[in-house]
Symmetry: C2
Subunit: 385 residues, 2 copies
């Protein structure tokens, strides 16, 4: 186990009707809030009304800025920064899923950072040290951004999707009411579940040894998702099912489960190029990329992929043939993604082989099990065709 520091001060406020706590929490952090949201689904499902009523009741004034798109855009972030400065905003409240939260994080830091915010996403020597306090009302369990230190933004100028991490990004509070997921379409539910599983798997696939507790904690999360993701598709109004997925989604990405180990994150980088160029849902891209990455990378650390197959996917074949166990584990994972209604091949997403080399060359290197080169990324895309 490696040395580590763990500090996650997000106050999680979880359960039925908890949106009513938003105003009281926001009032502790700011006087004038930027209320940031997406395409307006929160106005249809009642969340907007509950949150704004709670803010008003707590005497917190707010300025609204909706319009966040999936794969949130740098241009809107820049607008948000300008608006926040003009209005004297002192806190950002994100109401939505990962895209809205990440957009809010970039705005919150951009208001206090010198220079252009995009530099922090592209220049590894620049570190975000300050941000306005961020609060979250989560409506889609997926990105785990509600208590994470990470933020991913897409620059439309060249379609670069880039991530950035900072302790200042960790939200001060996150209100999570699983009831708000009842109206999510099955596709979005499925994509969210795959994103959660990917966050767990990126942490699971490591070359760091002697990490037994965190192995088992991650396996606990993955097995929970295997049980509950299909049930959320079948029974979208089952509160207890949605609750398990939400709580797993938060713990999958709040930095707890990779303490003492180094995650891989190769699949995330490979997927980012796909969703930047083709604007697909992140989870939909991960369902294609992850099995291909596993098939390409497993020879670098077979024991870990055997453990995944046995402990997570319940593969019960003789231990004499490791490759067979591993392949069966990957096949079951792929089949599971398909059972959620997702594609597991690029061709099923109408993505051909014409831009694979371009994406491979743009892809940021990453990886602990396998340190990716552009050629590796290219081969993984080909395996995913």
């Amino acid at each position: 186990m490696n040395n580590f520091i763990y500090h996650n001060p997000t106050r999680i406020i979880f359960g039925k009707g908890m949106e009513s706590e938003t105003g009281a929490q926001a009032a502790l952090l700011g006087k004038k809030v930027l209320l940031h949201y997406g395409g307006g689904s929160i106005k249809k499902n009642g969340v907007y009304d509950k949150v704004t009523a709670s803010l008003k009741e707590a005497g917190v004034s707010f300025v609204e800025m909706g319009g966040v798109q999936p794969n949130p855009r740098l241009s809107l972030v820049r607008e948000g920064i300008a608006l926040s400065k003009k209005e004297g905003i002192d806190m950002i409240l994100a109401v939505g899923g990962g895209s809205v939260i990440d957009s809010a994080k970039a705005i919150a830091s951009g208001v206090l950072s010198g220079g252009d915010i995009w530099e922090y996403f592209t220049d590894a020597t620049k570190v975000i040290e300050r941000a306005l306090p961020i609060g979250v009302v989560l409506t889609i369990p997926a990105a785990g951004s509600e208590s994470s230190s990470s933020c991913v933004i897409t620059n439309e100028d060249g379609w670069y999707k880039r991530g950035c991490g900072s302790a200042a990004f960790i939200p001060r509070f996150a209100v999570i009411n699983p009831e708000t997921n009842f109206t999510l379409p099955p596709f979005q539910t499925a994509c969210g579940c795959v994103d959660i599983m990917a966050h767990l798997m990126e942490r699971y696939f490591t070359k760091v040894e002697n990490v037994d507790l965190s192995d088992r904690l991650i396996e606990a999360g993955l097995r929970t998702m295997l049980n509950f993701a299909p049930r959320a598709i079948r029974n979208p109004l089952d509160y207890d099912v949605r609750a398990e997925i939400n709580w797993t989604g938060t713990l999958a990405h709040n930095n707890l489960l990779d303490r003492g180990r180094i995650g891989d994150w190769g699949s995330h980088q490979i997927e980012h190029e796909l969703s930047a160029i083709y604007d697909i849902a992140h989870g939909a891209g991960l369902a294609v990329v992850f099995p291909a990455w596993m098939r390409y990378a497993y020879k670098n650390h077979k024991s870990r992929f055997v453990q995944f197959a046995v402990r997570v996917m319940d593969v019960d074949l003789s231990f004499d043939n490791q490759d067979r166990i591993i392949e069966e584990g990957i096949r079951r994972l792929e089949s599971f993604f398909q059972s959620l209604g997702l594609a597991t091949r690029l061709s099923q997403l109408d993505i051909g082989d014409d831009r694979l080399r371009e994406m491979a060359d743009k892809c940021r290197s990453a990886g602990n099990v396998l340190k990716l080169t552009p050629d590796d990324v290219y081969e993984i895309y080909k395996l995913a065709l």
Copy 2:
């Protein structure tokens, strides 16, 4: 799953040599520190020298107060409060295990609370809202007090051992270097491991349904302890073994694993009466009480005890006979405690039946699977004879 709030801001600083961070962390919180410790083992194993050197290097002045005994005493807490007020202490640094940390918590709150500190441990209407900031250098993984909201103190006047909870008790930072456990005697290692397992099991045994993720997370902790506790006895100098136990011990009691559920805590109350009167180690008492409590309580919620036997203790008997599965699970747990060198019967601790009724009548009621009455407690003691 029940609604819940989760907020644990302790900064965990984990790994080899991390004591050197103590001074820098303390300097963020105070100018004059009460350095609180136990019987002096930290002077033999080098921890005292490292911590004081780190404080000096960071320019933090400190006043020392050692002498904390296992089952920490109210009289020393009162001395600590008086000393802290006299010296103008603005932060308490606990260097030791759960007893030292709990003594530090009681002092930290006593300095700022009106009235006598013991009232907060006996009068449920009194709530501790403030405490001086608390830092920890942990030397014994067991109590989980290094990032918990709880505190247990023994009043020698009548030998009452009573617990109290407050968000103000949560330490601001905890330095955890598993190397400091290398010199722990096997008995103390074993007692610590049982305490950690008990914290997990108290949370596991609940009547709250639809708590699948936290079930699995707790099972992950328990299975880790089943694997590593015996190895720590056999190989006390194995860093990676000690590391797994430390990290499990912290997560077992930082309030994460019972979010959305209600723990039982009956066994803890029953054990508190034992260690208050007979001054035995808490973990040694739990190894006796828990199996007896399980045998007495399981009929109130059989499915949960079957799940424990199957998923934690790997019982592989036919599901047709639930009682047989449960009994085998309890037998294996008892046998595991014995394998650590611990007694599992009161008689093995030279405790007879003469004060059972007195302890049963003093015992605080608790329980979610079984709401304890004095008669229940009495019957459980008898089962443990």
